[in-house]
């Protein structure tokens, strides 16, 4: 049976060489290598659930009176988009579990990409020859963020309408081209009746196709270059140590897919997410309070909230306030990320190809910079909920905002310096566990080397 299949294939496409090599391909085994796979499998769940949802959702702003399965909204004037999303949740069997799994999978997809990115950054896996995959991976992150936003924005509920309104205002703030850009993307002044169907086409067709294509290239390059590995044992730059694809790695990876799918479906069934029936339909003169975006846009939301009330005016021209936190900051963020392999090579790297990873402690400067950057974005993320913090802490929101304005400058510096010290301490203490590193090596890292 197997023999006949192999022969059949080989006579037609000559694939046995590739198949044999692939079955025997060796994969290094380390827990930190799983995040990219988790992202991949979350994407598979997104595609499967997304196809189901697309069969029911109507990307239309045609107005109607709601008469569906959610009684509290009976009689409300709603759009076909919002109506079909409610019907999907209350009128279609297994519809709600699909919708919520899709939303959870999107949040996990971006989270897994971000953690994967951190792993690559802190272990130097982006170095030659893997720069191309670093750039593809970053592009995948941008597309994932964008598609997350287009996905939850097209339901025409009050929360997502608020997000669209802010996105429109951010586009308007761009110098020279902002007004035209906003009008071309939205099809006119906000709120236009064209944006929902545009979001739909972009969300279900254009971006998923791009993501699929880039994932294919990303994996093909990993396959070709073979995976990186941590130094130690018999591992060198010229070999790969691990388990063979067939059967062990294949079984493990399939198990990981099933595990990711089981957690996402459990969340989709048991943990409510984006309850659009509680937000209500979009009306231009109303707004939800509090209003937070999905987690992965929290940093831009926080930046918008704590950026001081500055803008630049001259001769009637304005560079509007949102431009700085919501266009310039993300622009600089991703520019630095794209340039990072080049920057890293300039500061302490080399031009040689590397297949062995660096431990974070071996490059304290890079590790400290990464930790400082993560702290910066974490403070911004928290600042995105300054209204909720004000409520929980019974403190005026103005005070909270000022605390964040200070923290966003101070915290990254403090964390960066502390991490730099810690990494130096780890260097001098060898491979001991964190808890075994003597306190004095944190306090006087350079002197403790000769203990």
């Amino acid at each position: 049976m197997i023999k006949a299949t192999v022969r059949w294939l080989d006579e037609r496409v000559g694939a046995t060489g590739f198949v044999r090599e692939s079955l025997n391909k060796v994969f290094p085994d380390h827990w930190s290598f799983l995040f990219g796979e988790i992202a991949l499998y979350a994407f598979v769940v997104l595609v499967v659930t997304g196809i189901f949802l697309a069969y029911f959702f109507q990307p239309s702003l045609a107005q109607k009176v709601y008469t569906g399965g959610y009684a509290p909204l009976h009689g409300a004037h709603v759009s076909a988009a919002y109506d079909s999303a409610l019907n999907l949740s209350f009128g279609v069997r297994a519809g709600l579990v699909m919708r919520q799994t899709h939303h959870w999978a999107a949040d996990v997809f971006v989270a897994a990409i971000v953690v994967h990115l951190c792993r690559i950054f802190f272990t130097g896996a982006f170095r030659k020859p893997r720069e191309i995959n670093w750039w593809i991976g970053l592009t995948l992150l941008v597309l994932a963020l964008f598609n997350g936003f287009t996905g939850y924005s097209m339901l025409d509920d009050l929360l997502s309408g608020t997000g669209l309104r802010i996105a429109y205002s951010i586009a308007l703030s761009i110098p020279f081209i902002g007004t035209w850009m906003a009008f071309l993307v939205f099809g006119g002044e906000f709120p236009s009746d064209r944006i929902i169907s545009r979001l739909f086409t972009t969300h279900v067709f254009i971006v998923p196709a791009l993501i699929t294509a880039l994932i294919a290239v990303h994996l093909a390059i990993v396959w070709r270059q073979k995976h990186t590995q941590f130094p130690g044992g018999a591992r060198t730059d010229r070999n790969v140590e691990g388990v063979k694809f067939w059967p062990t790695y294949a079984a493990k990876s399939t198990a990981l897919f099933l595990g990711v799918a089981s957690v996402l479906t459990a969340l989709g069934g048991l943990a409510q997410i984006n309850p659009i029936w509680l937000y209500g339909p979009f009306r231009p003169e109303t707004v939800t309070s509090p209003a937070q975006p999905d987690w992965y846009l929290g940093w831009t939301e926080g930046a918008l909230r704590i950026f001081p009330s500055w803008e630049i005016r001259f001769h009637g021209f304005v560079i509007a306030n949102p431009f700085f936190p919501a266009v310039l900051l993300p622009g600089i963020t991703f520019a630095l990320l794209y340039l990072w392999p080049i920057i890293d090579r300039r500061f302490g790297g080399d031009r040689e190809p590397h297949h062995l990873l660096e431990r974070p402690r071996d490059r304290p400067g890079r590790t400290a910079l990464g930790a400082a950057a993560l702290t910066f974005y974490m403070v911004l993320f928290l600042a995105g909920s300054n209204d909720l913090l004000a409520r929980w802490l019974s403190t005026p929101v103005t005070t909270i905002t000022w605390v964040f304005r200070v923290l966003v400058v101070v915290a990254p510096v403090v964390v960066g310096l502390a991490v730099h010290r810690a990494m130096k301490a780890f260097q001098t203490s060898g491979a001991e566990a964190f808890s075994k590193v003597p306190l004095r090596s944190f306090l006087r890292p350079r002197l403790s080397g000769d203990r």
Binding site: K252, S262, S309, T401
Partner: protein, 288 residues
């Protein structure tokens, strides 16, 4: 030694079998729940069971009963083949020189392709209307009655102190850029700005409801402090001084709508806003 491995194998096999069995039960359960009409929490739990059972069974199987290596594989260093590279370069250069020989044709080809590339921009222009003066004006006109979102006109004598409501111009409740907050300010609690002395008849003031920061409706009014709050990014506007921003990221006051009261006692507009409403844009101060 062998005996111990036997026991271990039997135990492993048993655990894996249980995991697969639970998964099987989960799928059967799913079929039953679905047939009975579906229930979201049960569906989530049963999906967790059927997928999770498979995952745990497989991971235990691969961990306990499959070869664990470590296996070693050689890694070829790039470039794989120096000679291949040279041949590819030569092949490309040969073709390139063929093209370069026809300089005139090559240039014309370049010009034609560039011209066609430019025409590909036209469909982008079709995506939206010309901004023109759209951002500088709203639907408010001289004598337009203020109506609530349901279309009910507002009588000036029907408003008590600190009354706060959202209005649109009559017949234009779908015009998002024309939303206005009406506030009846208590006596002595409002400074009329120079040039706006007759904009607030009977202490009724109107301000654009669209935040000048990022365009959210400024939906919260706190009467004690006379502050308007934007719930999106926490900008605060102080009404008595002409809705100037006092906290948060907003930089410009909310534009004020000149109001009047018509012969029948309804609140009307004297004119459109005197400045653009909503978030700032590049040519904000250069009305065409």
């Amino acid at each position: 030694m062998d005996e111990r491995r036997d026991t271990q194998h039997r135990f492993s096999g048993g655990a894996i079998a249980w995991a697969f069995f639970l998964s099987f039960c989960g799928s059967v359960g799913l079929a039953i729940v679905y047939t009975l009409g579906g229930q979201v929490q049960l569906e989530g739990a049963l999906l967790f069971l059927s997928l999770g059972g498979l995952a745990i069974g497989l991971v235990l199987w691969s961990h306990w009963l499959m070869p664990q290596g470590p296996d070693l594989e050689d890694r070829a260093l790039l470039p794989w083949d120096q000679r291949d590279e040279e041949q590819a370069e030569r092949a490309f250069a040969a073709g390139m020189s063929e093209i370069a020989r026809r300089k005139f044709l090559g240039r014309l080809l370049g010009a034609a392709v560039a011209a066609f590339g430019f025409t590909l921009l036209f469909p982008i222009r079709s995506l939206g209307s010309r901004p023109g003066s759209a951002l500088y004006k709203t639907a408010w006109r001289r004598g337009a009655r203020a109506v609530t979102p349901d279309g009910a006109p507002v009588r000036a004598d029907g408003l008590v102190d600190n009354a706060f409501l959202t209005v649109f111009p009559e017949g234009k409740t779908d015009q998002a850029d024309s939303q206005v907050v009406l506030i009846k300010v208590p006596a002595g609690a409002f400074k009329t700005l120079p040039g706006r002395e007759d904009w607030s008849p009977e202490r009724i003031v109107g301000f654009s409801k669209i935040c000048t920061h990022a365009g959210c409706p400024v939906g919260l009014y706190q009467a004690q402090t006379a502050d308007l709050y934007c719930p999106c990014h926490q900008s605060v506007f102080y009404v008595p001084d002409g809705a100037v921003p006092t906290s948060g990221p907003a930089t410009r006051p909310l534009p004020q709508l000149p109001l009047a009261i018509d012969a029948e006692g309804f609140v009307v507009a004297q004119s459109d806003f005197h400045e653009p409403v909503g978030p700032a844009f590049w040519r904000l101060g250069r009305r065409p």
